[in-house]
């Protein structure tokens, strides 16, 4: 009987775990080198770090290997590991204006001070399968590396340039709404230590979205663009680059120490004044998106949702703060969806009891067709 199958749980779990390991390795020419993932699977590593809210490329690579490529599972592994790590420091706010850019584009202006940098992107690549990647000899690899490194080695010696933000010129002209009240002044809310309150402070919104699940956020933002929402922005600026992480030096007031750099993607989306809320001045309004790694679609989606959540007069899901923020965390959504696989014998039995009782209850006249 099926009943017996759920007994012997201990044995079943052990055997299942062994089998999962077996499926990872069967037909494999060798063990996957984790060191290759942060470069050759960098978008995957970036996505996992971003959705886990944990910047650690090596750990993310290990999680992906262990999870056999399951992104939900890998982000979950990292997030669970994060629970065991004590928080020793709180960094200073990242200075994204001074970041070492590898890519910077604007869809609003052809010429932006500092210029546009196309950088590494698939945007204009033809999506043709490159069969020569099936067999990539070391000489070919060396050739690619040398060609590019020779070209850029001269530039790297220069002082990093400061790239002013596109939104800043618009603000100087008075066309762009000022930053959110309290931005940069208030102590940010911490979603890892407190339950998200509603209405949520903007810092909590941004944190929730910064580690939100890419697919969920892209779907919601897309729904706004298609018509189930009032937000359809222009990208003022999308920048990808390395940002210095600075910690306050604990032993001396006012001093700070450089801890390393993070690759991030930052998006400022400009929303037209047509979508301005009643009572707001007629001006352009920013939506902001940011995430660990090179995660462009997610960061753009976040910038759409950031603005959408401010449009409180909207009735579509994308304008509903609780709806958006409660359903974009992959650890929570995937966890709860998969809990349906757990046994529900007791509750189902209870429901059967009700169903049988109702069917035996004399008809009250309002239940045609139930029997």
């Amino acid at each position: 009987m099926g009943y017996v199958a759920v007994k012997g749980g201990q044995k079943a779990i052990l055997a299942s775990s062994e089998l999962t390991g077996y499926y990872r390795l069967r037909h494999a020419p060798g063990s996957l080198d984790v060191g290759m993932l942060p470069s050759q699977m960098r978008f995957l590593v970036d996505r996992v770090m971003s959705e886990a809210g944990f910047y650690a490329p090596k750990h993310a690579a290990l999680a992906l290997k262990q999870a056999q490529g399951d992104v939900y599972e890998a982000a979950f592994l990292l997030r669970a590991y994060r629970s065991t790590v004590p928080r020793n420091h709180v960094s200073l706010p990242l200075d994204t204006q001074g970041m070492r850019l590898i890519r910077r584009i604007s869809s609003a202006f052809r010429d932006i001070p500092g210029g546009q940098i196309l950088g590494p992107t698939f945007d204009y690549a033809h999506r043709l399968l490159q069969f020569d990647l099936l067999d990539e000899p070391p000489e070919a690899i060396a050739q690619v590396l040398k060609r590019v490194e020779d070209r850029y080695s001269a530039e790297e010696d220069q002082e990093p340039a400061l790239f002013p933000r596109v939104s800043d010129f618009l603000r100087e002209e008075g066309l762009m709404a000022p930053p959110h009240p309290g931005a940069g002044e208030e102590e940010p809310f911490d979603i890892t230590r407190f339950k998200l309150p509603f209405p949520a402070p903007r810092s909590a919104r941004l944190q929730t979205m910064a580690r939100g699940e890419t697919g969920a956020m892209v779907a919601l933002a897309y729904s706004s663009l298609r018509g189930y929402g009032a937000v359809h922005p222009t990208i003022g600026e999308l920048r990808v680059g390395y940002c210095a992480l600075i910690l306050p030096y604990p032993l001396e007031n006012g001093e700070s120490v450089y801890a390393g750099e993070l690759l991030i993607t930052e998006v400022e989306a400009i929303n037209g004044f047509a979508g301005t809320e009643p009572g707001e001045p007629v001006q352009l309004v920013l939506g902001y998106g940011v995430s660990f790694g090179q995660n462009e679609v997610k960061s753009i989606a976040m910038s759409v949702l950031d603005r959408a959540l401010d449009v409180v007069s909207g009735t579509e899901p994308v304008h509903d703060e609780e709806y958006v923020l409660s359903h974009i965390d992959s650890i929570e959504s995937a966890g709860f969806i998969s809990h349906l696989k757990l046994p529900h014998y007791v509750t189902f039995q209870s429901e059967l009891d009700r169903l049988r009782t109702v069917r035996q209850t004399p008809d009250t006249g309002s239940r045609e067709g139930i029997r």
């Binding site: 779990i13 629970s83 509603f198 046994p343 009891d353």
Partner: protein, 282 residues
Amino acid sequence: MTSPYNFAYLDEGSKREIRRAILKAVAIPGFQVPFGSRELPIARGWGTGGLQLTLSLIGPTDRLKVIDQGHDDSVNAVSIRNLVVATTHIETTDVTDQATIIQSRHRIPDDPLRPGQILILQVPQPEPLRHVEPREAQTRRMHAERDYSAVWLGLYEDIVRFGQITTGADYPAVVHHRYMIKPTPIPRWDLPKLHQAPFLTLLGAGRERKIYAIPPYTDVEPVAFEDYGFETEKFLSACRLCGSREAYLDELWDAKIQERIYQCSDTAYCRKRQTEIGKGDI
């Protein structure tokens, strides 16, 4: 699993934070206390709320029992027990009476618990008003105003449409005449066990980030009408293994004899009764 992790997985600061939330929950019976729920190595929706309560309370001398659907050996119960043991090396037991902490999903043991034992229930959805009001900001206000009319109305509509209250498991109750709770999907059979119970019940919802409690000797009253009262599940026959008519039963289909048969959902209770009546182990 052992060496790189702290005793009971979570760091001490997190455990202390959870214990503070527990104290608040005990002080305000039935009130859902929000807390900074941590991610654990088991999935959200699989008992992380209950597990965080267990991990924050457990000490080296505790003895833990974990059940799922009443079974000690159900896969998820095994998985949760293994995690606690791997990070604490404490003793576990199947015997209800020997446990100091009992973590459970969907059941309260059929053997009565005694004073001093702690029952920890895993909760998927703690909010009794969620099915009538999806917004947390609203339901918090409704609790503050003790506005439970929508739930009563739901029961009334049930009676009009079906001639019965149709809620199966997770039947709403009012704790000590103040807060309405969802008792987590325990069957209605188990709900009366919480009324004036001699033990402490803690309920944890990890994904929804809520902890609530039913302290010992607290009134727990199922929501019902005078003329349409609260009813527990009824079973047509006794347990085929131990003959009990005082336990919640699982319904099975015996293909051999082409008949519906029943046996205890609480395997520890059933095994004990079988020993008592001299029938030996399953």
